[in-house]
């Protein structure tokens, strides 16, 4: 089969699976759902491997496959074209590989749902994968927006999957609206680029780009950044992500690990020719990333819901990726994206095992003592935790070190990258702390007296296997690129992506990786003993008891939800209500009534209406026509 067809199959197969499951949701037997749901994703993974082999063999020459003309209106030419290069193949492998594991895992996790809900779930999951694949394969901005919005839609559907819970319903709506704000940014950004370069395809735009920065480019880059920020849950459009925990746990894994939130990083990477020129917007990417990383990590410290800790850690880790692509270390950002996909999927699925065993209890304070009872899950979760904290030799160490090392060693007289490095460094320490806290509270010690299940059972095989695979990947995945620890070691990820991004424009020196290696030390220190001392052995009184104000500030997530409610939601509703009462009802809506009233008063149309309005109408029409004719003749004369 030619490559062009294979690329289309990658998209079409999960789409067909989703459509089939959606149409047949009420009738398809569960066995078939279990095959179709994950099966289509796995075939897409195999097809992605074919593309991988091709890219491997041809040295990274991109393909632009055009299928049909989506729209042709004057200068606006939008083909349906898929762009296959090293970056999109990399993303496809992550999306279908990790996504496939997560969808497979869902087979077991969703077993308690009714047949209809079960099929509906896999319909949405496949739609999610389809949209994400379209997002990374799209060859032009309009198609990108279609995939972009499709991801938003499927996250809406999955977050609101338990539609019998009000909290899920509002969380879903919030995610959708926030994502639409991002979509609008993307649409306007597309307008700017089209108005300037008369093209919406990547190739057309990149070929037409000027050599120097311009306000127009900055505007476009900032508008696309709005989209990236909304999708990747970065400040200030992040508030939907913690609420998104209302969805079933595999959904969280899919949203956080393999798909959706990484889309913003992909977007900056895909549009890197624009961001390389637009220095202000590019700097904003790094700044937003670094600040979000620190911000989210600080909130994660006080969360007690295990999924919310992971949610804020996602925001924080995506912040690292933004930091990396924002300083121009694209390959480092995508290495961390892959690493994060491995260990965050692992953590969420591991947490899913626990939640499943605990009858859907998510409060870590009610766990405890799982090490002895769910040993397999505990070990895997530990691997994920160590990886998240950035401890050698797990994958998180290697990728985070490359991110921080590349930022630190970038020569810049303003010291901006070094400042970003410092924030990232501080975040790494916090990460170690909250990860340790989570681990100790949930798995170590004695079982909590409030624990809902005293003798939890280990997860079944269909759930355990994906977790173990991810644990292995999190352990060995880092050895794809070891230059952070052993310079000059091999750097396969960076080499793979070089045809897309070009080589790192500055030389990272041995010595300059060294200070960043301190993160490893400090994070490790913070991880084990300190958190242990705080939360399990209570050597020191818990810091939050001494600082109740800070505790509350963090627990309420810096009051941003309340602020947005006050600034946007309430004024909008108030404007709608008062507009209806003050202008629409009394003036605009009343106008025809007023006309009718006047007419009634003057000509007694009411009685005429009873006699037959139609006759009156014809008479009035003819009369008015005559009057008009006379006026015109007079005017003319």
């Amino acid at each position: 089969m030619p490559l062009q067809a294979i690329t289309l199959v990658i998209l079409a197969l999960p789409a067909a699976g989703s459509a089939a499951l959606g149409l047949g949701a009420l009738k398809v037997p569960r066995r078939l759902v279990q095959v179709v749901g994950p099966g289509t994703v796995w075939v897409a993974f195999l097809c992605s491997l074919v593309l991988f082999m091709d890219q491997f063999a041809n040295g990274g020459k991109p393909h632009d496959f055009t299928y049909w003309t989506w729209l042709s209106s004057g200068a606006l030419q939008v083909p349906v074209d898929l762009f296959v290069d090293r970056l999109s193949v990399f993303m496809c492998l992550v999306v279908t590989g990790v996504g496939g594991l997560i969808v497979t895992y869902s087979n077991g996790y969703m077993e308690h749902e009714t047949d209809g809900s079960y099929a509906r779930f896999f319909c949405y999951m496949d739609l999610f994968i389809t949209s994400m694949l379209l997002l990374v394969l799209a060859g032009n901005l309009v198609l990108l927006i279609v995939g972009w919005a499709g991801v938003g839609l499927s996250s809406y559907l999955l977050i609101g999957f338990f539609y019998w819970r009000w909290s899920a319903v509002v969380a879903a709506r919030k995610a959708f609206v926030m994502n639409v704000i991002g979509d609008v940014g993307m649409i306007l950004g597309t307008f700017v680029l089209f108005a300037a370069y008369h093209s919406v395809t990547y190739r057309g735009i990149f070929a037409a780009l000027p050599r120097t920065d311009s306000p127009l480019l900055e505007l476009a880059a900032f508008l696309f950044l709005v989209g990236a920020v909304a999708k990747s849950a970065q400040l200030p459009l992040h508030t939907w992500l913690p609420d998104a925990m209302e969805g079933p746990t595999p959904v969280s894994a899919l949203i956080h690990a393999a798909t959706m939130v990484t889309a913003g990083v992909y977007l900056v990477g895909r549009l890197h020719p624009v961001y390389d020129l637009a220095w202000a917007a590019h700097g904003a990417v790094a700044l937003i990333g670094a600040v979000t990383a620190l911000f989210a990590a600080s909130i994660a410290i006080v969360q007690t819901d295990i999924k919310r800790v992971l949610a804020y850690s996602t925001m924080s880790q995506i912040g690292y990726m933004f930091l990396a692509v924002g300083v121009g270390a694209y390959a480092a950002g995508f290495f961390h994206l892959m690493a994060h996909a491995f260990f965050k999927a692992l953590l969420f699925l591991g947490a899913g095992n626990v939640i499943h065993a605990m009858n859907d209890e998510q409060d870590m304070r009610r766990y405890g003592g799982l090490w002895g009872q769910m040993r397999g899950t505990s070990i895997c979760f530990l691997v994920g935790s160590l990886s998240l904290a950035g401890i050698i030799p797990f994958v998180g160490f290697w990728s985070k070190e490359v991110v921080l090392g590349d930022a630190f060693s970038k020569p810049d007289p303003s010291g901006f990258p070094q400042a970003m490095w410092a924030i990232g460094f501080a975040t790494a320490v916090l990460t170690g702390f909250y990860t340790g806290r989570m681990w100790w509270m949930a798995f170590a010690g004695r079982p909590s007296p409030e624990r809902p299940v005293s003798r939890p059972h280990e997860a079944q095989a269909v759930m355990m296997v994906p977790v173990v695979v991810l644990a292995v990947l999190s352990t060995v995945g880092g050895f794809l690129q070891i230059n952070a620890g052993f310079h000059p070691g091999w750097k396969l990820i960076e080499d793979w992506l070089t045809p897309t991004f070009g080589p790192l424009p500055w030389q990272a020196r041995d010595l300059e990786y060294f200070p960043t290696a301190a993160t490893l030390l400090l994070a490790g220190l913070a991880f084990w003993p300190i958190a242990d001392a705080f939360y399990r052995r209570r050597v020191w009184s818990v810091w939050s008891e001494r600082l109740p104000f800070l505790q509350r500030l963090l627990e309420r997530k810096y009051y941003l939800d309340e602020l947005y409610d006050l600034l946007f939601v309430r004024p909008m509703d108030a404007a709608a209500e008062s507009g209806d009462h003050l202008l629409e009802a009394p003036v605009i809506d009343a106008a025809p009534t007023g006309v009718a009233m006047t007419a009634r008063g003057s000509a007694g149309i009411l009685s005429l209406a009873e006699n037959g309005l139609f006759r009156t109408y014809v008479l009035v029409m003819l009369g008015a026509a005559l009057v008009g004719l006379v006026i015109l003749l007079v005017v003319r004369g």
């Binding site: 949701a25 649409i187 709608a576 209806d580 809506d589 109408y617």
Partner: protein, 505 residues
């Protein structure tokens, strides 16, 4: 062929009226299907890129005054003729057996189809006006005699008076155009377009016609008749009212206002006025949709918002904007018809149209919920479905005209998911603060016991009937079709009856 497109429904209406009642639905459906088939045949044979009318029929009518019975289609009107034919089929399908005085009802709907088809097909200004008035008469009776609510007569009266004002203005305009259009003394639209009057006269005529079409569309702030009329009209009537009738105004704006009056200049260039009204309509309609409690009114105001996009696109005077507007006419027609149907079905099942009284209907009507979801997504402009394409193009046109217009209009894109999802979720999902048990959860827990059986019987009740599903499926299919392949419509738009002031390439 074109004559048949409007004459077949008239014949159908006569047949329905004359034949016994049990044949009403099959006769009506047959007539509307024949009209649809004829329209499709025209669509298939239309030559893209052709300049001038196609399938022309030109018979002198009053030669002394230059009036002729002149019909023709081009790449714009074709899609509206098709929309009209399709939605009439749907309207007849859903008219169903419950409508009182069914014969007259179906006959009037067919007459309305004929009138609207004539509006889209007319190539002669006076003929256009005749059809324009003709569609009003069945519309009035449909609203008056079959209106719901406490005072349907009042809504009908309001509607007629409002549009009557518009009609009279348009009539004066028609005569004025005849007298002043470059001395051509004809009503032939293509000739008139080639001989525009002097700019100040154009300005005056623009105002006359513009008001008439703005009321019909309706464009902010002339939408006062809409909430009452839409609240009173029954669902099958709304399919043609909201779906097609408003489009006659939109079509006339594009064909007559921009086509015949390219430079309506008096003292000042008023170019930005209508786009600004369109922009305000987008925001205002969305805002008002947020404030409504009545399901139908939420949809009605969403329509005001979406019609704003159409007006915006037409008057930003560039190709993307105007083609987007034509696309949006079709999109909006399909979406709003589906929305009104769904809302009516939901209201019929729940026994109320009050949004706050509805909740958690999805478990009882899963199929309806699924269809409603897709239509909701199309209505809020989800990329991949039809409405996005039109909105994207009109906004792109607006951006090229004046970027701030596009930016402010994007407010409509942000508010649309808020009011549409409130509508959909409010009716289908758990209500405020509720934590319900999963539907059928106990049945699974109890295995295949009696519980499972009981839970299994619940969802079937109240769901879409086969007939309802049959009526709405074509609309949903069109949403997907245009979303995936909008060029199907846009490529035909290269065939224009007469050049617009801004050439389309």
């Amino acid at each position: 062929m074109l004559t048949a497109i409007w004459l077949v429904p008239v014949a159908g209406a006569l047949a329905v009226w004359l034949l016994p009642r049990r044949l009403t639905l099959s006769t009506g459906l047959g007539a509307s299907l024949v009209a649809l088939a004829l329209s499709l045949a025209v669509a298939v044979q239309l030559v893209p890129g052709h300049h001038g009318y196609q399938f022309e029929e030109n018979v002198p009518w009053v030669p002394q005054l230059g009036i002729s019975y002149h019909l023709g289609v081009d790449g714009i009107s074709l899609w509206l003729v098709l929309l009209n034919a399709l939605l009439t089929v749907v309207a007849v399908l859903v008219a169903g057996r419950r409508v009182a005085r069914r014969r007259a009802f179906v006959a009037l709907i067919l007459l309305m189809e004929a009138g609207m088809a004539g509006v889209f097909l007319a190539a002669d200004l006076l003929l256009f006006y005749v059809f324009w008035e003709a569609q009003l008469i069945p519309a009035y009776f449909l609203l008056w005699l079959w209106g719901e609510g406490d005072r349907p007569g009042r809504a009908a009266l309001q509607f007629v008076l409002y549009t009557l004002v518009g009609s009279l203005l348009a009539l004066v305009g028609v005569i004025g155009e005849y007298l002043y259009a470059g001395g051509a003394h004809t009503f032939d639209m293509a000739t008139l377009a080639a001989h525009p009057p002097a700019p100040p006269i154009q300005f005056g005529l623009f105002i006359l016609f513009g008001l008439a079409f703005a009321i019909k569309l309706p464009l902010f702030p002339f939408h006062g008749w809409l909430p009452d009329a839409y609240a009173a009209a029954p669902a099958p009537v709304l399919v043609v009212f909201a779906g097609v009738m408003g489009k006659t105004g939109a079509y006339a704006m594009l064909r007559i206002l921009t086509g015949l009056f390219p430079h309506p200049v008096l003292w000042w260039n008023w170019d930005t006025v209508v786009p600004v009204l369109g922009m305000v309509a987008i925001g205002w309609g969305a805002l008002m949709a947020l404030a409504q409690r009545d399901l139908k009114l939420v949809v009605a105001y969403s329509s005001v918002s979406h019609m704003g996009f159409i007006a915006l696109g037409i008057f930003v005077l560039n190709q993307q904007g105007q083609q987007g507007a034509v696309l949006q006419m079709v999109n909006h027609g399909v979406i709003i018809a589906a929305l009104f149907l769904l809302v009516a079905w939901v209201a019929a099942r729940a026994g109320t149209r009050d949004r706050s009284a509805l909740r958690y209907l999805a478990p009882q009507m899963p199929v309806l919920a699924g269809v409603f979801l897709i239509v909701t997504l199309a209505a809020l402009g989800l990329p991949g479905l039809n409405s996005f394409v039109g909105e994207f193009m009109t906004l792109l046109g607006a951006w090229q005209f004046a970027p701030w217009l596009a930016v402010v209009s994007c407010l409509g894109l942000v508010l649309a998911p808020v009011y549409m999802l409130r509508l959909f979720q409010g009716a289908m999902y758990a209500g405020r603060g509720e934590q319900l048990a999963a539907p059928g959860a106990h049945a699974v827990a109890a295995g295949h016991g009696p519980g499972a059986q009981a839970a299994g019987t619940v969802p079937a009740r109240g769901d879409l009937s086969a007939g309802e599903l049959l009526a709405i499926t074509p609309l949903v299919l069109v949403m997907f079709l245009i979303g995936l392949y909008p060029n199907l419509l846009v490529q035909a738009m290269s065939s224009l009856a007469f050049a617009l002031p801004v050439p389309w390439k």
